[in-house]
């Protein structure tokens, strides 16, 4: 039994600066802010689409300019970080067992990247 245990306080706001792995984690979590903001942008864009060609065009025009480009660049980085970190942990979260062996993690991850490439290509071609 302890006579006088000493409790080390953890700084609630800056604990993640202590280790690189915590910084990477916070980067992943913060990516959700930009992805969320972007998705809300899509919500607005969809509304403008429903309102007609002039409304939709003014939505596209509002995107243009340095601020819009900057937002897209930051969001692109955030989205890419989310995707890679999500795919890389899929074998941990959903291991697949075939008989006595586990399907190698690299195969599961590789399959995700392949599907990602195909989906992205399809959407890109359809969009352009």
């Amino acid at each position: 039994m302890s006579s006088k245990p000493y409790i080390r306080e953890i700084p609630k706001t800056s604990w993640f600066f202590r280790q690189p792995r915590y910084m990477r984690y916070m980067g992943r979590e913060v990516s959700s802010f930009f992805i969320g903001a972007f998705t809300l942008l899509l919500v607005v864009g969809l509304k403008r689409l429903a309102q007609g060609p002039e409304a939709f065009q003014s939505f596209l025009d509002a995107l243009r300019g340095p601020l819009g480009v900057l937002f897209c660049l930051i969001t692109l980085a955030a989205a890419l970080y989310h995707s890679t970190s999500w795919f890389n942990v899929t074998p941990q979260a959903m291991p697949i067992q075939r008989g006595e062996e586990l399907v190698p993690g690299k195969m599961i991850v590789g399959a995700h990247y392949a599907i990602w490439a195909v989906v992205s290509l399809i959407v890109l071609i359809l969009g352009i």
């Binding site: 802010f33 919500v43 969809l46 480009v69 959407v123």
Partner: protein
């Protein structure tokens, strides 16, 4: 310790995270092109409108947008808690209301596109 009702939100989070991982990067790329006036023949109102008018297009758009919203809302809730914002119930309520409003807006926008 009673069993939590977290699974509701976590199911949406997991589905949304998966959708976002596959689809959001290319959508952001297209948006970046639009912001940079990359290809003037892109984003014709008619083609996008036609996609959204089709029932399958509606389903896809609704799925992608709403699941992404709920995923981002939940993850950002956790992120705020991690940086010391301890009023978790308040944060959750605000963020989930935003996600709900986005969901409702998407629903009605799609409903009005013929």
């Amino acid at each position: 310790m009673a069993k939590s009702n977290k699974p509701i939100i976590w199911g949406l989070f997991a589905a949304g995270g998966t959708i976002t991982a596959f689809v959001t990067p290319v959508l952001v790329l297209l948006t970046l092109f639009a912001a940079m006036r990359f290809a003037p023949t892109m984003f014709t109102y008619d083609s996008i409108h036609a996609f959204a008018a089709h029932w399958l297009g509606k389903l896809i758009i609704f799925g992608i947008i709403t699941l992404s919203l709920w995923h981002a809302a939940h993850r950002f809730r956790v992120a705020l808690f991690d940086v010391g914002v301890r009023a978790d119930l308040v944060v959750a309520t605000i963020l989930y209301i935003i996600a709900a409003l986005g969901t409702i807006s998407t629903f009605f926008s799609l409903l009005s596109i013929h």
